[in-house]
Symmetry: C2
Subunit: 303 residues, 2 copies
Amino acid sequence: MKVIVAGTVAIDDVKTPKVERTGLMGGSAAYAAMSCSFFAKTRIVGIIGKDFPKEHITTLENSGICTEGIERSEGDSFYWSGEYHENMDDRTTHDVAINVLEAYEPKLPESYSDTELILLANMSPRNQLDVLNQCSSAKYSIADTMDIWINHERDELIELLGKIDLLVINESEAQLFMETRNLVSAGKKLMSLGPKNVIIKTGEHGSMLFGKNENEFFRLGAYPLEEVEDPTGAGDCFVGGIAGFIASQNQKSPSFNDLKSAIARGTVMASFNCESFSVEGLSSLDSNKISERLNQLLSYTQI
Amino acid sequence: MKVIVAGTVAIDDVKTPKVERTGLMGGSAAYAAMSCSFFAKTRIVGIIGKDFPKEHITTLENSGICTEGIERSEGDSFYWSGEYHENMDDRTTHDVAINVLEAYEPKLPESYSDTELILLANMSPRNQLDVLNQCSSAKYSIADTMDIWINHERDELIELLGKIDLLVINESEAQLFMETRNLVSAGKKLMSLGPKNVIIKTGEHGSMLFGKNENEFFRLGAYPLEEVEDPTGAGDCFVGGIAGFIASQNQKSPSFNDLKSAIARGTVMASFNCESFSVEGLSSLDSNKISERLNQLLSYTQI
């Protein structure tokens, strides 16, 4: 299956206790598309400004990603600047400039019309619905989201949940959205809003998968990393790996077992991402390294 | 193998958002011994005061636990009173009275002298060392600990780590003790203090196991519970299940794979414990329910 990854494409400045880097490629779609591209033919949808470095587009294209769906606008690119603290878990956002995203209305190129799997990486639910509505060929759809949309575009997010197959959301956002601290309970409540499956990401602890059937529950720990260089985009790489793996299976609808296997791939991709800044960890990857780490992850989690 | 479980035996008052209960049996040894007793012949070591309800001793004995190692003192029993808040994770300790524990010097009954596995449930490292030194027949030893001992009996705790086979410690305590937020790093540092294996408990997320070999790492998610009645003692039941399972295998030294299987049993026992107050969830258990939940846990975590 061919995959559309729609979301943000950004310029990031990232500071960690050890290093400070500026002008990095960031954004949910950039990370997710890079990760997805290792498993399936990937097409990106997003918007950039006139200041967006050409080499970042080259990075995407060198990974085989079709960038025709990236709109070039006269404004400035979406910009984020943040700092990770000692524990590499808490972060402070120093600056966010929406810029070109403000008036963005996603348009899918004609050439994307045979896409069968659609990944709506984190962006406004309004934009996610726009993309979904333009993609009548899609057989399977996945969406990610974040706290800002839960707080400010709740109705659109709920509308979206009624139309997608798989929701991927992180722990604190699931708790905020469903107003419960208990993640099992939050997952079940999210399921009742429409998706066929829900995945709650629990950061360094891994993730949980929920299904319609009472017995359909699965959890997998994250790949253990002693050093985390830059966790930005880990969640996007996780969902990108999931989308790519599902697409690579070429089935109309993934089974619960397919989703378990997809989560293992997403987990591996997220771990590589955390070992380098921006998408650099993914740029230097190959399928051998992915298989090797996948086997390692299985030995670390399977009895 | 026969198991000694040494630790505290307490009277607990527990308040949750829904219920308040007083005069419950608590203490690390009570919980751990109850859990262990489903897998192996279990002998408890601890001290109680004149106020300790007889029915609690009956509860232990009804589970087949030998209580000869419980010293009856003229003082008052160790007492803890605490409250769990809405999320059932944060708790406030309202009152702790050390009472009979203050001057406690554990003495193992003669009849315990053929014990081969020793579980040093949470109590002072000084007492844990005392018990260990009296048990020359022990072929395998496990210890749990907590923040108070890391802060106040650090030297004794480090001495203990040099003498045991397996350390079981929770997430925040491992971070405090090893002065690092990263759990993989904390686990490796704890290993360097002497134990053959280290398990870090990560609460609702499960646990991680470390071994001497670089590839010896394992993590397993907790059993998913939508409702938690009373999490007191979950960590003790976890380690009790581990000790019991290892003892039931009758090997001189458990392999890394044996420890993985032991963790699955501990995880199941901890989940049953969380579903009821005090040791009540364990009192009504049987081996069929344990096997059934073990299979469920495996389906929830294995690909």
